[in-house]
Symmetry: D2
Subunit: 321 residues, 4 copies
């Protein structure tokens, strides 16, 4: 269903959609700038029943990393949680010389092991990244430019859910299913939404729920998947959304729409448009709730952790209705 | 300034303030239950200028862990941020066989190394924890009960800032300064607030800002500090706040108000009252903003990361006005 | 082939084989004491051709942890190797302000993820460990008693290889195959060795090589395996070996020889006899060499890393002939 | 005391001392090739009293990383040791459903945090490393060339100790004290040694012992120090030693002998000569023993851990006499 494109198309998109300089020469957060104070005020008005829904997967050893995949993401692993002190120590009396019985712990995790936001330092186009910064500003010392910490007061605004499988009467979309511009427009109409400037667009494919139901993540981390078509880069650019997030591993449809290019949508979205991507969002509960009350918009608050120089962050995104 | 108490007082407080069973026999989140849907709707109405302020310290090697202290917190360290791939690799061409140039990274951090929420599994009273659970349910395998992941849809409500040094005309409160019930009442009146059921109470001492200004964290992580007096446990219990957070390392005043007991406030607040504590909140910007617009209440959204079995979580708390 | 035993047999073995006090009330290294200076001198005399063979598996992401298994070892994972600086950074010029171009790195690993020595703090018998120490001396703060660092000047002596499958004319022993006292005696005779006081006994089963040849570790980490029979505890105790190591995950035969007891050999070997166990030793090259020159004894040097309070250590054991 | 050199001298040394190709075009271990089987046999003959001495610092939180320094080594930290299971859990009964009571643990450590061997992939000269390999073969994915695992059957041979302060009648050498060729020759004569092909040369400065005695590592990790003079590169090259190790942080004298070059000795030793360096060796006990029996040579066995692609390895070096 996904159309095939060429390297030439990729290069043309890079020219056509380049937002470098649009938010000033020193900008490091791209389209997150689209969300304005009045949008935040308006988003807060969407809170009408006081219900909070988490869009995060649990961070634990049962996460998707390490499962089999066609395009494995080298080096990522599931969170490793280790205790510094525990209730076993308390019970054993070994904490009593400390005069308080407490537990402490440590987490070791790739920033992109579960539900997460990419920073604009996550993907390079040639030797450059967003706004024309040199890719070498992201070295082993971390990201000097476009680190995730630059977004620490962003990720608040109006969230809109486009639930594609529900519109189509399906449980979930099959691998390789491309969500096209036409489908996005049709979904917006179907769910009576106008997607626009500064919105946080959440697109459901049902892919994560299918994996959870199957009891295996095989195929999920870097494998074939439903997702946004390459052409939606123009749509997202025109709509001026702040960010886009899905319930898949990498937002875009797979197999890749361009031969010999992995994740062509990423090549353009992040370094060229400056578009923040959210991945592995858990959308089952939100989707049910929206279907029930027929309201597909909500206040969306999904803070990043300001890890200095990080190229991504885990997040617990909240939809508040 | 802090009054001295005895072990007997501690035990009496444990009897007097015990909330076990109050939220049902299976409850794992304590006073977070106080925040009701209508409170969340009302909190959202406080968003009037569309301004988002982060209350998080940067997570990096310059954090407070490892500084000198009277009561050092064994085992905690500052975040260690390591790259899985970087722009240097991109520039060097070593990623090109992957057909996309990306950066990835890893974070190693104690959950309580910086701005954080304690879970109710963080502190034990004897061999029990919140709601009477056996402390052995928090073993080296993590917290089976009261893990931080149970709070993933909480931490949303009305935030209220009590800026004690500003009320007193000081830059910051000195070590050992006890914020008493009387001061809390006076501050609420001064800032024209009614602190009540389900609120997220933020108390500023100026302690963190003083350390940041000095260029050294020495004395901060576990040292003497200004903070809430032991007696405020009754005040917080009566007000039915959802949680309380400060800009200090451990919320409560130090030196400890009871001889031979470390952190007596913690002994009662977490396992007995079921009160969630937030620590190391960065309050400088929020305090300035509140002083400017004279509005000390705001929408507060501070999600935890749902790390399964964790006894705390880093957080990027947002104050939205 | 493995005989079945009862809990009563286990308890009887604990009484019969208990070495507590044998090496003094403060001893923390057990049978490693058996190796005397003269044994080390004699072992050095075995070096006759100047050949060094490593008995270590590579420490990397292709190690055995995480493979499927009947008795999975909770929490262990393969080594995670991360760079602090690299040649990519050098090439990119980002190191030049440091005036030297260097690479640095970090390793995150369970001490027992690959080729390793158990410390005597690794296994408890009831609430006690080796020499009668309280198991609570091994808390979240590490092992106060019997930590691996106590062995830092041990692990040097005469190594003897008993190559069971070679004696039997097999490539490797099947899962569940018990190496009995009779077989050990027969092998010593076959290979013209006298196993005795202070020796480092290496028993080959071929199990690791079979897994390596198959391309999958499934079944290896905690699964059914060939290995030492429970009865060999008496044999090892009588011979007064310093330590015993094999090419399997856990030395002993599996399925377990006692119902409802996991690793009964471990219950006795480590806390009762004080016998150090080496696991996941790579024996292919050594076995070939011994078959060629028909010398099954060698100088054996396998230092532990003195990680304070650790209950085990990775090691690169060297057989020197 | 250290002579001052120029960049021109550095470049001349690089031409003069370049060993590229000497051990074949595919060599990855450099001067470790100098040690021949007969040297190992001879080294074993030095074992005469059966005494084993460890030259390793404990790996723990009291190590030298993080101390103040003039040339801090970015990113290194002391080992972090965490338990996966402990005796506290055993005592608490939470392991009993596992049918065995065991402790397990995890270590997180820079490979160069304590006593360690550098791999030849640790330092680059321009865009090249040992034997002319491209520095980009050491990327975020680790060292494809000259990884430490290539040395896994090396590090065995004759060790010789040159105890400079003892010869000079001092407890330790002061910072900035350069151990020159003349001093090395004088020491060899003094201690009645002929340093030659394939030897593992251990040079004591007393620097580590001075820091240990002072109770503070300040100044040690990357600070001014006594050490080998730049001119000793020629001496070491001529003698054809296999490796050189000291009790200092970085082998060479500091302040740096060339303006605007950090660690000029490293620039030549590792990538040009292919000389393996050992750092932070604990020499106090060995030095005492050698002084007692007046034998400054011994069997030396200091295996690296074969961590695939690592640029260094912790080690527990053993001197066996």
């Amino acid at each position: 269903m996904a159309r095939k494109w060429t390297i030439g198309d990729l290069e043309a998109a890079a020219e056509r959609l380049k937002n470098w300089g649009r938010f000033g020469p020193d900008d490091e957060i791209g389209t997150l700038n689209y969300t304005q104070p009045e949008d935040i005020v308006a988003a807060a008005r969407l809170v009408q029943k006081g219900k909070v829904m988490s869009l995060a997967l649990p961070y634990d050893s049962k996460g998707p990393q390490g499962a089999k995949s066609n395009y494995p993401s080298l080096g990522r692993f599931n969170p490793i949680h280790l205790m510094l002190r525990s209730g076993s120590d308390a019970y054993s009396g070994v904490l009593d010389n400390r005069k308080i019985r407490t537990a402490d712990d440590v987490i070791i995790m790739p920033t992109q092991c579960g539900t997460q936001w990419d920073a604009l330092s996550h993907v390079f186009y040639g030797n450059q990244m967003w706004n024309g910064y040199d890719c070498r500003s992201v070295s082993s010392f971390g990201a000097e430019k476009c680190g995730i910490e630059k977004t620490k007061e962003k990720m608040v605004g109006r969230g809109v859910l486009l639930d594609i499988p529900r519109m189509l009467g399906e449980r979930d979309l099959p691998d390789g299913f491309a969500v096209t511009n036409e489908l996005l427009d049709k979904a917006a109409e179907h769910f009576k939404l106008r997607v626009g400037r500064g919105d946080f667009l959440i697109v459901r494919t049902g892919n994560m729920e299918a994996k959870l139901a199957s009891g295996s993540w095989d195929g999920y981390p870097g494998g074939d998947a439903p997702g946004l078509a390459f052409e939606t880069l123009d749509w997202l650019h025109d709509k001026q959304v702040a960010a886009v997030a899905t319930d898949t591993f990498a937002v875009e449809v797979r197999p890749n729409e361009i031969a010999d290019v992995v994740s062509p949508f990423h090549w353009i979205a992040i370094p060229i448009i400056g578009l923040t991507l959210g991945e592995m969002f858990y959308l089952a509960e939100l989707a049910r709730d929206c279907a029930e009350d027929q309201r597909y918009e909500f206040m969306f608050v999904a803070p990043t952790l300001p890890i200095t120089g990080a190229v991504a962050s885990p997040t617990n995104p909240l939809a508040i209705k």
